[in-house]
């Protein structure tokens, strides 16, 4: 992974130093005496200031666990986290819970999947937004309230002053997600992790929220880690895309390359399972056969081999190694042809 940068077209922001550098992150769940489960099995990626990095994969591929591990939000017991996640020169995984708490919300923030259940049902929106500023900027609630109204206005909530005294259930789904984005951005964090921020919303609202996120990221220079299973989201937002399978990154590239010339059969499968408007009438969607439950252990094979249309004998006998660097790469013995 330490090979020098390749000759690929490099996005301008790639030239700067990484803000977050995740190296060989491993998260294992399991108690003593039980077979441990490797949810994240050696993931490495970089996020540079102003860059949007996507982590893509289906349910159970380890993308949410990766984000929770970086945030220090995994349960204190029942799991082990190894590797490093260097943010601004400090390894987040080595910080004490108190130090981590001081950075969460101020330096790094997170947006979750379900906007209704992610808001406290018995606290007014205004108080939930001001809480972050009171915590990290030492403002009183009185001082923070006008700022909260500005924030709500900035994320596109109409009549923000009136919304401050509303409870979460009085807002629509899109409004709630906007409020959560306002909370996450209240202290102008340098890194934002969005864990499927549009999954619980309907399509028109999804587009609005994505446009808002893009706008805010460009405006504030915040780095964004976008966790999603939706390649449509990736296509619209991400500079760099990491495709995860079974807790490892199987393919990486900038979004244009990845969409026009996908090489890993899993990436191809994901792309083929997107419904297309220009597909011939009556054409069935082609899902990826099987499920993540069919995975082989990475130790001695390619985890995706049982579901892979391109699988060779070697795929179930050896672990495919990562070929590439921190900008583009692939983990496959028999990638798809260059043109699709």
């Amino acid at each position: 992974m330490s090979t020098p940068m390749s000759t690929h077209a490099v996005h301008p922001v790639h030239s700067s130093e990484p803000l977050l550098s995740v190296r060989d992150l491993r998260v294992t769940f399991g108690r003593r005496g039980e077979q441990p489960f490797k949810a994240v099995d050696g993931i490495s990626f970089d996020v540079r200031p102003g860059q949007t990095v996507g982590l893509v994969g289906e349910s159970g591929c380890g993308k949410s666990v990766t984000s929770l591990a970086i945030m220090g939000l995994l349960p204190t017991r029942g799991n082990t986290v190894e590797g490093s996640a260097v943010f601004d020169g400090e390894d987040l995984l080595r910080l004490s819970p108190g130090q981590m708490r001081d950075r969460r919300g101020r330096e790094i923030a997170m947006i979750f999947q379900d906007p209704l259940s992610s808001l406290n049902p018995v606290v007014q929106i205004g108080r939930q937004v001001t809480e972050v500023m009171e915590r990290h900027q030492g403002l009183s609630r009185k001082e923070a309230m006008p700022k909260a109204a500005e924030l709500l206005e900035r994320v596109g909530i109409p009549d923000p002053k009136a919304r401050l005294v509303n409870y979460p259930h009085q807002l629509s789904g899109g409004m709630r997600q906007r409020a959560l984005i306002a909370m996450a951005l209240a202290c102008k964090p340098r890194l934002l992790i969005a864990d499927e921020p549009t999954t619980a919303l309907d399509v028109t609202i999804q587009a609005q929220i994505l446009a808002l996120l893009k706008e805010l990221v460009v405006e504030t220079g915040t780095a964004l880690v976008m966790i999603t299973h939706d390649l449509g989201v990736v296509a619209g937002l991400c500079d760099e895309v990491n495709v995860l399978y079974g807790g490892r990154i199987v393919e990486r590239g900038d979004r244009h390359t990845l969409f026009s010339r996908p090489r890993h059969p899993y990436t191809v499968g994901l792309l083929n399972s997107i419904p297309r408007l220009d597909a011939p009438r009556g054409e069935a969607l082609s899902p990826i056969p099987g499920s993540v439950a069919d995975n082989l252990p990475w130790d001695s094979a390619c985890a995706f081999a049982p579901r892979c249309p391109n699988a060779l004998d070697v795929c179930v006998q050896q672990t495919p190694e990562w070929e590439g660097d921190d900008v583009v790469g692939l983990r496959c013995f028999n990638p798809m042809g260059v043109s699709r």
Partner: protein, 323 residues
């Protein structure tokens, strides 16, 4: 209290049944979503529920009577206006007469006035015992549910031990320990018995809150542990505890009456209390059963009122019983 449908049919121990019931109540709240809208829809259903309305009517009437009893009662409950009518041999308990619609007790005191004023003691004991029980349960339950670890284990083992002793027996024991029985020893004894119920219930719903999305979201913003517990977990965990409190009120009233009946309450019979009146009526059951009947009926009706209200409240707020 009516048995809950969650209970398995096989024979279980007393402590297990109680623990299961409390856990069922706690888990019912875990599935709740939508905050106020849930309360709104519950109220819509309650408004049309005759069981709830009857319970509410009894409860409201009882509280109103207790509050105005001193002005409503025709006689001072300690005065003995019918003392001259008491004949230990022929007429130990004077019957009804003009100005005394229910007659008098064996000391010539107006029975109606004593019943009315007695409601105050019943309300006081019931409310205070429930309040202190709730308070103790809140402290222990919050501690166990929010801190977790060995504190949780320690608190919950103490709670289990207390729950394994039948509540009335435990209350008797505690009240009997007091060298000078009074209203307060009674309240403390009954409150102590309620503490483990509230503690277990609250701990359960605190655990559900700890795993909830909005607590994770608050943690992701660096909110401090104390604020998470008191602003994000506790207010959302209180629902089932408040419902339980209405049910505990009924139990507290019955327990208080039982303890007073056995002489473990306030020994001063110039301040009437229903259970105590019931106890003092015992020697005259043959000649004057009404002396026992009236306070007993009052206790039953009031306890029924609180139980009906509490049960229908619990059902209305429980998503599993919703139809």
């Amino acid at each position: 209290m009516t048995p809950t449908p969650e209970l398995p049919p096989e024979r279980t121990t007393y402590a297990e049944r109680r623990s299961q019931r409390i856990d069922a109540l706690a888990s019912a709240s875990a599935a709740e979503e939508g905050g106020v809208s849930l309360i709104k829809s519950a109220w819509r259903r309650l408004r049309r529920n005759p069981v709830f309305l009857v319970g509410l009517a009894i409860t409201v009437a009882f509280i109103a009577l207790a509050l105005v009893a001193p002005w409503l009662a025709p006689w001072d409950p300690a005065a003995r206006p019918l003392l001259d009518d008491v004949r230990p041999q022929s007429n130990p308990v004077p019957g009804p007469e003009a100005g005394h619609p229910l007659g008098a007790d064996d000391k010539g005191r107006d029975l109606l006035s004593r019943l009315l004023v007695g409601s105050q003691q019943t309300l006081l004991v019931g409310v205070l015992a429930t309040f202190f029980g709730l308070l103790g349960g809140l402290v222990l339950g919050t501690l166990a549910g929010a801190v977790g670890g060995w504190i949780d284990s320690l608190v919950m083992r103490i709670v289990d031990v207390m729950l394994s002793i039948p509540s009335l027996l435990l209350a008797f024991t505690l009240a009997a320990l007091a060298t000078r029985p009074s209203q307060w020893t009674l309240i403390i004894a009954i409150a102590t018995v309620q503490v483990p119920i509230f503690a277990r219930l609250l701990r359960g719903s605190m655990l559900a809150q700890r795993a909830s999305d909005h607590v994770l979201a608050a943690r992701s913003l660096g909110v401090k542990q104390r604020a998470i517990v008191f602003r994000h977990m506790l207010p959302n965990a209180l629902g089932p505890v408040i419902v339980q409190a209405t049910l505990v009120l009924a139990v507290a009233i019955i327990d208080a009456a039982a303890l007073s009946f056995l002489g473990l309450g306030n020994p001063d019979d110039r301040r009437p209390e229903w259970g105590q009146m019931l106890g003092k009526a015992q020697p005259f059951l043959g000649e004057a059963p009404h002396l026992a009947f009236y306070p007993a009926a009052c206790i039953i009706v009031v306890a029924l009122g609180f139980t009906l209200m509490g049960e229908s409240l619990r059902e209305a707020l429980d998503p599993k019983t919703r139809r």
